[in-house]
Assembly symmetry: D3
């Protein structure tokens, strides 16, 4: 049944997120272990492992989307950490948030900057 997606995904998750991503997956073991498995296999083993877009652009696109959606604060934090981990600098993260102002409004940007402050302080 195994096609290497889980291993590929776990390696990808660690390469992208450092320790933070794996923690999220582990924290699901008691209540919804398959949710953690799908994150590894599908989000990282399938999607993040795709060619055609470099890892930094993938993470900045994700930061942009989560900023605009405004419903995913813990995940925005994980992906700001991941963006730093794959080579984005703080300015690029803030600029990605600023780019959202015309599309999603000031509250979305303000709330994302509050997340960035926490991420930068802990980095």
């Amino acid at each position: 049944m195994d096609d290497g997606r889980y291993e590929r995904g776990l390696a990808q998750l660690e390469a992208v997120s450092g320790p933070h991503g794996a923690q999220v997956v582990k924290s699901l073991a008691d209540i919804a272990p398959d949710l953690g498995r799908y994150i590894v296999e599908f989000a990282y083993g399938d999607i993040f492992a795709r060619p055609g877009l470099d890892m930094k652009t993938r993470e900045l696109a994700t930061v942009a989307a989560l900023t605009a959606m405004g419903t995913a604060t813990p995940q925005l934090k994980v992906h700001m950490q991941a963006a730093l981990h794959v080579g984005a600098d703080r300015r690029e993260i803030i600029e990605t948030v600023m780019q959202m102002i015309p599309y999603a409004g000031f509250p979305a940007a303000l709330n994302a900057v509050a997340v960035a402050r926490d991420v930068f302080a802990a980095a």
Copy 2:
């Protein structure tokens, strides 16, 4: 009263969007001309003109966000055209949409791919 924001914004809008962006602004002249003016001055003269993030990443981040939001089909079309205009290729646009699946779900990606098909057919 003029500080060059409108001129800077118009030049930026044309550099980024080609003819499509200017059309949107012109189409507002009869009903909400200041809305068009703010798009030029603020979205392009202020935000897009900022250093710290290249134009292609700004446009892909915008495509990501509009895909995830799912409420801005006409604007997603304009920004997919703009992404092509500033040097993204079709594959990068599709990959940006695919990157949204784990964060915003399949319907958001499916509806964005339908927009991409129209944009690519007309390009």
Copy 3:
């Protein structure tokens, strides 16, 4: 079983929306008649009939919310018509839409202005 909510609601709906609101309710008769009944009884008989806020402010607040949500185009049309009907002028409707730019972004405002154009043309 009748407490006059339906009659009060229907009178309120007609006072607020003119013929457009009643059409929406009638159009539900074949498939979900109770949905129409709840709109009359609850939205108009209960909520719109409340004291404490004048009808024009209620309708402009509704236009603001539907503009920002971006998922309710047909209802935004009905409430722009209603806003005109209860005494808002075109400028106040456009200003209410413009007020949404900093909170919900340009796409929300652009799509609402497109609805306003249709409403104003038919008025």
Copy 4:
């Protein structure tokens, strides 16, 4: 003026939510008592009291929607408690959340699982 909707709604609310729902209504007494009254009369007296769909399916559909919306954490908690109260088991609640992954993405599911963990711990 009374048509029994409040009494019917209160009985329904208690049958569905146990003590948790009534607490929400009571907590509104000082600031917006009519909001509490409408929840009892309309949400429970009108909607939940309808035939055509059993109470467990109504609650699981509500859990699904609140999970996907991502803007209603306190209400998701109340409805996960209610789902347990009307006979859903923990697995069905988790499966309903998992079913949302393809439609609303992993962040929506992750945040709903965090709510479920609190609900299950307190049950």
Copy 5:
């Protein structure tokens, strides 16, 4: 590389959606074939194939969520068709939409009923 997920997913997709779902997947072949593949493998091969919740409840939960989200009209149509296909009747679909009124508002329900009218007319 194959672990049977695609075959399991395709069988599940056909069992759940009849011909409509497979059409969506086929229509992606020219522009984003992997998007179609992920729908089959992940949405149907992984998620829909899970035990713990019957197919009718899965589809009604999906109808509930897509109704509440309001950004996925084409997908709501597919899942109303699928709900009928796996044994829900028209009344249960309408009731699921009605159940969303207190949580997502009347516009979401009105727009979903418009989709249901199309689905029922074509069934």
Copy 6:
């Protein structure tokens, strides 16, 4: 380069929000000072300074939209404070929130009333 937008915006911000709005701007100085500048220049210097709609209606429309969006709790607090500051009374704020029930549902209204309780307690 200066056209008085910042000064006009700051005066407007203080007139509208009292001390609360300026605090938000100041708090951005360390991480995203231009975000604060754009709020002053664009949101207040451009949008709030427009004629055609009185300040109380602008603030109530903003309270309506932020209530309906459900993703901007800190900003809803600021604008409820501002609404009080420009002459709305508590009842008008609560009524604006109640007006959102039919359009955005009970959870949006419940969460906004919780914000109002905090604002009123501190006023």
